[in-house]
Symmetry: C2
Subunit: 254 residues, 2 copies
């Protein structure tokens, strides 16, 4: 396959380069990832300034994949990378492997998910892939899982208006419990704004709280904690179709 | 009502301050909007650095609303503004009035929509409001429409996991054809990346193409062109629930 890889971590991320190197054993791989990490980038697109693409010859030779960086956000990387950088059209776009899960309602903030969604909006088949937790001990688990998964999953049958959002637990490969296809759960935070005073006496606000334990249930946020790989179809069509008639009735009565 | 206003345009935008001033005739209004315009910001959340809030006393007196700026993105403005700036809890959060429509698949890039969605994620009732087109001639139409709409619409009955995404045509108020509750349509672009060479001989890529005319249909992208105000329920739950069983079956067969 002709595989395109991006993510919101910088192009030097072990999750990106490790995945690229593994997939390059069997596939043609092109990486276009941000110069710098872009956590929480959401689905931002850079339209107010020009963007730069840089090719890394040494990294490309080392990992047997073409490695480029882009001065933009993950969605920029996908857009420019697929339209202007990759040779030919990608059979599969992977955004990842992200260091840290992208689960539940948090996906609206996710640069990893937005990289895959941008590819889907362009008409390509795409998956976002994340490793739960913050350390790299189990990156090999995630790389092995996804490299085997894409060999077996019938990618050519994917309709193109959704992506698969895949999250892999931080466990040794043999301890993975299996795969659960699950809906997005609710992610709740506490104390998510810290108020402080800087060295110059000026007040600041810093976003970033502690995740609360998820409510019990059968959502992605639950299964990952039980040791399952979670697979969730996610779409860029954000319309709440089920509410249309309800809103229509309210407006008729005005 | 206690109304909170944000958007992705800067705090000086006529769409924000004009709306604030109008609503302040009847309501308590607090504005927290970005220092600088943030078009295409998507649902980015700033977690890697502290953010600043600034109060503008003169603007507040002039517009009879409390006006603040925030050094972050629209979702940051909503999050910090609602948790830390506004007095009490908002009865309604408005993101807008944006100068330029936010329709169809483009809403994934929209800072305006993300400001409202962030408020919904926090449990508040919210609407994103945009004026079609790029000039301000018909801003009065949009301000009048939305100020009348929120008096009549049963806001307290809105469930909190979706927002209303409202787009107003660039027309005199009396020429508005009515309101259509409609799904998001597809927005397609052509020539959406410009490749060039800068004064130093380096190649650049610039995102920003021409919108193609929408396919005929009964979506928001169609009705706005016919002169209708469009109202679309939009949700932060991006899961494609309708695809879960399909994906499950494919994975069972692996």
């Amino acid at each position: 396959m002709n595989i395109f890889i991006t993510n919101d971590d910088g192009y030097l991320s072990e999750g990106i380069l490790g995945l690229a190197e593994k997939l390059a054993e069997k596939h043609t791989v092109t990486v276009v990832a941000p110069h710098n990490p872009q956590s929480g980038a959401g689905h931002a697109l850079t339209m107010h300034k020009p963007l730069r693409i840089k090719h890394f010859k040494d990294l490309s030779e080392k990992h047997k994949a073409k490695v480029f960086s882009c001065s933009g956000k993950p969605a920029d990387c996908a857009k420019i990378g697929i339209e202007e950088v990759i040779q030919g059209k990608p059979d599969l776009v992977l955004s990842g492997i992200n260091i840290g899960a992208n689960l539940g309602t948090d996906v609206v903030y996710s640069g990893t998910v937005s990289g895959a969604l941008e590819a889907a909006m362009m008409g390509y088949r795409a998956m976002a892939v994340s490793l739960d937790g913050n350390d790299l001990t189990y990156m090999d688990t995630a790389i092995r899982f996804i490299s085997e998964f894409i060999e077996k999953y019938p990618i050519s049958t994917m309709v193109k208006n959704y992506i698969l959002n895949i999250n892999i637990p931080a466990l040794p490969f043999d301890e993975l419990k299996g795969i659960k296809v699950a809906s997005l759960g609710e992610v709740r935070y506490e104390n998510d704004i810290t108020r402080g005073v800087d060295p110059f006496g000026n007040e600041y606000f810093w976003i970033g709280g502690h995740k609360l334990l998820p409510e019990p249930g059968n959502k992605d946020v639950n299964y990952i904690k039980e040791g399952f790989v979670t697979v969730t179809p996610v779409s860029y069509m954000m319309g709440a179709e089920e509410c249309i008639q309800l809103v229509e009735k309210k407006i008729e009565r005005l």
